[in-house]
Symmetry: C2
Subunit: 346 residues, 2 copies
DNA sequence: TTTAGCACTCAAACATTTCAAGTGCTAAAG
DNA sequence: CTTTAGCACTTGAAATGTTTGAGTGCTAAA
């Protein structure tokens, strides 16, 4: 696990060259371009050792090396140099995110700016930290239920569940109890996951009614989540997506709310979260890296700003851009939001 | 322009086979699959004539024929058989578009349902027919203008324009006059086009201030337009998009609001509008067909429901699906919208 | 411990061949 | 005059073969 200086230098050069060129990096390139004062043969020997240790990979025997997930991780944790944003980028951020408009508009601005600067798809979620206090299920007719969610802060959300079979009053009561037991206290932003647990536990008992209620709550929540994508078109510039199948999978993945939600909610909530390739539990995301950051304003949690792209991404620039934007939100320079219609009142 | 029965039968068979198979249709296929009681040689002669008349095209000399834009147009206008929706599709529509939720939710439902059934990208726009009554430009500071738009119905929209140079009061007055002259009475949904005309006419005079004001209004309007895409992932199943360049162009086009806005606003506002391939003035859309339909409820214009896809699309099914949904909106079976926060009050 | 040198591997690029689909034309048949 | 059988011809796609160059691992000497 301890790498000597030379190995560090080699690893960092491989990572940086590969990030830039997207081509496997060979020993000769390293010697010439990165002024390593050894012969290519020596570098080859070192690279072989780095490969055996799991930091590098070789696409095929006569190719150069590319970083493995472990290699990227080591680079990010130990080798990466901080990146100062260029004045151009700073100006662009400051001119575009001006704080005008409601939260939705600002979120959109942030997504647009980040995806422009980094030329990568960007996802911004606006989370609702308000928690569920009480859930009521009201029978409107034999086959129609009204679900009402009351929050701690006093807002009310409601949605309908349509059934194909009639449902007994007693079942509704039971259902209400289960929902309250499992969900009260849960932040709205985590309701999705909590609901999945509920149906996994109780599906055998009241399959249809419970299923419909859960789905209608999920649907209502999905409207609330306000996930904003931007810059999807940037993937076409990246050689990782030269294959149509890859594009297809990526687009499908991004459109699948659950995958992204889960990925983002897995990130530790405190600071900056970097999940590289196979570190992600979701197999479909194993070729991608997600870097995300919570944004706060006046100690109020606004949401999560995330960048998703191939493992081969410019980690240094991405991180400094995200951090800069986070600071911008913390600074008092921004105007206050004019109006915020996050959730309709009860 | 008059085609005899045999030519009609051949043209319609070519169109339908090509829609299904995406492969150029040869004379042998037609004889065998469509029971045309002539030899392949006769069919070949007829196809040659149809090609000379412009109804068919030949990708290369040893390939079968594919319909030209003119061929599709003739098919749609004269040959196409009405398509009854399957019970499965009808059930699916009825179960999914239930009229619950606000207008935004319903629009999303419509987009989702249509893209699912037709397996094609779908765009639904919610138009705002309220018209501009008065525009005020207020100087907040030397380099910051507030633009206020008052509507006939009494709602107020406002946005900021940031300048890099200071601007004289007199210029602001002049600008206000020009904006009011050109825009008052314009429906919000057409503001985009009207603004383009304004800057084209007056750009020489007050380039910066006017430009910024126009842009900020446009940005504000774009939030209002509520364009909802759905089913973008469906393009990957179509051989038209096997080439990555095509996908790239399509995605870029769809993300470019102006292109789609213009394309949709060109469609005649009354009934069903079908714009096939090169019939579209926008060159970038020349390989695509846009079918769209205005949706009304209680004689109130709700918006436009549009399907965009390659010229080779299932015209009959697309049209009947859209029509069915339009009727569903007209029918009184749908619940009334619970609440509608189209635009914030003044 | 480092390095020069060399045999070896493999993907990518390019060239060549083969194949099948489908045509247009001609001349004969209806 | 219309239809059709027959055939030479064209062409893209797929399969196959060839070349090239980048890069490696290993060996033996410095």
């Amino acid at each position: 696990m301890k790498l000597d200086e030379r190995k560090k230098k080699i690893l960092s050069s491989v990572v940086e060259d590969y990030i830039e060129s997207a081509e496997p990096v060979g020993s000769k390139t390293l010697v010439e371009k990165y002024h390593l004062d050894y012969s290519s043969a020596t570098i080859r020997n070192e690279m072989k050792l780095l490969e055996e240790e799991g930091y590098l990979e070789q696409p095929h025997v006569s190719a150069g090396r590319i970083p493995s997930t472990k290699g990227y991780r080591y680079y990010v944790d130990n080798l990466m140099k901080e990146n100062k944003l260029s004045m151009v980028d700073i100006d662009y951020i400051n001119n575009t995110i001006n704080g005008f408009g409601d939260t939705d508009a600002i979120i959109q601005q942030v997504a647009d700016v980040v995806s422009k600067i980094l030329a990568t798809p960007t996802v911004v979620t606006k989370s609702n930290t308000d928690t569920v206090e009480n859930i009521k299920v009201v029978k409107i007719s034999d086959k129609l239920l009204l679900v009402v969610l009351m929050s701690k802060n006093g807002t009310v959300k409601d949605c309908f569940a349509k059934l194909t079979d009639t449902v007994e009053d007693q079942v509704i009561d039971q259902m209400t109890t289960i929902l309250n037991q499992n969900l009260s206290g849960t932040p709205f932003s985590e309701l999705h996951l909590a609901l999945n647990k509920v149906i996994r536990k109780d599906l055998e008992v009241f399959s249809e009614a419970m299923g419909e209620v859960v789905n209608s709550i999920k649907y209502e929540m999905s409207k609330d989540l306000k996930k904003l994508n931007s810059g999807m078109e940037n993937i076409f510039e990246k050689p990782e997506f030269s294959d149509i199948e890859k594009v297809k999978n990526f687009v499908n993945m991004i459109s699948t709310k659950e995958i992204i939600d889960t990925a983002l909610s897995n990130s530790k909530d405190d600071k900056l979260s970097i999940i590289i390739g196979s570190e992600n539990k979701e197999v479909l995301l194993n070729d991608y890296t997600i870097i995300s950051l919570d944004i706060e304003k006046d100690n109020k949690y606004l949401g999560k700003l995330s960048v998703i792209g191939p493992k081969r991404m410019n980690y240094a620039k991405t991180i400094s851009t995200l951090k800069y934007i986070k600071e911008k939100f913390n600074s008092t320079l921004m105007l206050n939001n004019k109006n915020d219609n996050d959730s309709k009142g009860g």
